[in-house]
């Protein structure tokens, strides 16, 4: 579904990603792990069209994404829930969700709103509330809900558990599992190694802009070098 080959990307000509290759297959949860500064967010930004790759290729359902804008990529069904949530703080919860279907699945907006409210009942209680006044966990739910409003085929989530209390982290991973159970492919970018590996079928470990390890989540979990060598834990 998502095929990345030898991807080189960075900022102002300085490469951060130095030849990354990675696949996500339909219906699969793939974890991308890595310490702070490994290049995880840069990878997501390149996939979703926020920055232009300097080399390599990104394909989605057999289509090359080179040259497509971020909205064009959303239109294909590849949706990125960004690090730091990036919700619209000046707008209501409902308006935030509505804008998730600005480009895709607009005709199903009402039905998808109900679907998102079923997954995140807490958002339903706050439809009229200004998004900037939500708690961190609620903002994260809103960001994911906004992504779901576009009926994604592949959802990329960049550190959805960042900054949440341990209890909320548990809840967030349960919600990710629930969303993926509908057959949606998920690329889960995380630093919470144990929980991510429990959830994912396969995982990649990013280190210094390159893939250092890849394989089945169960295998990686038993690898003693994973934590110490690559994640700096």
């Amino acid at each position: 579904m998502l095929e990345i080959r030898d991807l080189v990307a960075g900022y102002g000509g300085v490469p951060v990603l130095r030849g990354v290759s990675l696949d996500v297959r339909a219906g699969e949860i793939v974890a991308v792990l890595g310490a702070n500064g490994a290049g995880k967010t840069t990878l997501n930004r390149a996939i979703s069209g926020l920055i232009r790759p300097d080399g390599g290729s990104i394909g989605f359902e057999g289509r090359a994404l080179a040259g497509l804008s971020a909205p064009d990529i959303v239109a294909l069904g590849l949706v990125h829930v960004p690090e730091g949530r990036k919700i619209f703080p000046n707008m209501s919860v409902r308006e935030n969700l509505e804008l998730g279907s600005y480009r895709r699945a607009k005709a199903n907006r009402a039905a998808n709103l109900e679907r998102v409210f079923a997954i995140f009942p807490r958002l339903k209680e706050r439809t009229g509330q200004s998004a900037g006044t939500l708690s961190g966990g609620e903002q994260q739910m809103l960001a994911i809900g906004r992504g779901l409003m576009a009926e994604p085929k592949l959802l990329i989530m960049d550190e959805p558990s960042l900054g949440l209390s341990p209890l909320l982290v548990e809840e967030m991973f349960a919600l990710v599992a629930r969303i993926a159970a509908d057959g949606l492919a998920v690329m889960l970018v995380e630093q919470n190694v144990v929980q991510s590996l429990d959830l994912a079928a396969r995982a990649y470990v990013l280190e210094n802009g390159a893939i250092a390890m890849a394989g089945a989540a169960g295998t990686l979990k038993r690898d003693p070098t994973l934590m110490t060598t690559y994640l700096g834990l």
Partner: protein, 300 residues
């Protein structure tokens, strides 16, 4: 005679005061419309559009030309010039200002400043520095309201400005493009990742600003004169309104416009016509000193 002479003088003074108030409110509504375009662009792009005044002048000349050349009534011209200026503003931002600015705010300032010089000089070349006006049959019609005589074109301008403001508010609150404009104003990256084309939204915002000016020009021309520099005077006032109301605030522009209209009219009454604008700039400085974020400003 039921009234004492002193009492009559007082009544007369109250009438004059009320008339100045009404005139101020009516002019202020059009000021608000001009400020609305300025504050809208500021709220979304976070820069002042220095071409705003020149665009207003161009719109006023367009109204004049439509009337003088084609015999089109200025109120009918609203239906033609509003979409035309929307398209013009859209194209300017999408194909000139945006690409020429390379995403830097200070470049946008310079590009719009350059544009204003180009537009102004083009108008000077085409119309020289002559002042022109149009003659409409209702130009001097008045509406009687008790002892008040309100010029009909100003009454129309008052209500039309509020109608436009209400339409704009409805657009921003209830349509997808309006919501997208508000989204882009605070969170560009989140907007792009939601499928919102940010460059298109910028251009639509510019287009709406120019469309406000086209309406304002149509409402002004029955009572105002036009020359190649007239827009600057209006925009200086509009800028004061935007600062008073709070940069980027739509209700602020409306209330601020009315306040400034009344202040101008009253200080004109008490200090003389030529000093009418002094009151405005006193307010401008006072606001900057006391409440720099303006009446409705979010950020201090």
């Amino acid at each position: 005679m039921p009234f004492q002479p002193g009492c009559r003088r007082l009544m007369l003074q109250i009438d004059i005061l009320l008339s100045a108030l009404a005139n101020g409110l009516m002019t202020g509504a059009v000021y608000a419309l001009i400020a609305l375009g300025l504050t809208l662009v500021y709220g979304v792009l976070h820069v002042i559009n220095f071409a705003h005044g020149a665009t207003l002048t161009a719109a006023m000349f367009a109204v004049w030309a439509a009337h003088d050349g084609l015999g089109i009534d200025p109120y009918v011209a609203i239906l033609i010039l509003t979409p035309l200026f929307f398209a013009l503003g859209y194209a300017l931002q999408r194909f000139v200002i945006g690409p020429a600015s390379h995403g830097s705010d200070s470049n946008i300032l310079l590009v719009t400043l350059g544009l204003s010089i180009v537009i102004e000089n083009a108008l000077l070349a085409a119309f020289r520095s002559d002042t022109r006006s149009i003659d409409v049959p209702y130009g001097f019609s008045v509406i009687e309201l008790g002892n008040l005589f309100l010029p009909l074109p100003k009454v129309i301008a008052f209500f039309a400005s509020f109608l436009v403001a209400a339409l704009l508010w409805g657009l921003m609150a209830h349509t997808d493009i309006g919501k997208a404009i508000r989204a882009v104003s605070r969170e560009k990256t989140g907007a792009a990742l939601s499928g919102i084309p940010v460059e298109h939204v910028y251009a639509v915002t510019f287009g709406l600003g120019a469309a406000c000016l086209a309406v304002a020009a149509c409402l002004l021309m029955p009572t105002f004169l036009v020359n190649p520099r007239v827009g600057n005077a209006f925009v200086l006032v509009a800028f004061t309104i935007v600062v008073l109301g709070g940069m980027g605030s739509v209700p602020g522009a409306l209330i601020g416009g009315l306040i400034i209209g009344v202040v101008e009219s009253l200080s004109g009454l008490y200090f003389g016509e030529s000093l009418g604008q002094i009151g405005i700039f006193l307010i401008f400085i006072l606001v900057l000193l006391v409440r720099p974020a303006g009446l409705f400003g979010a950020r201090a």
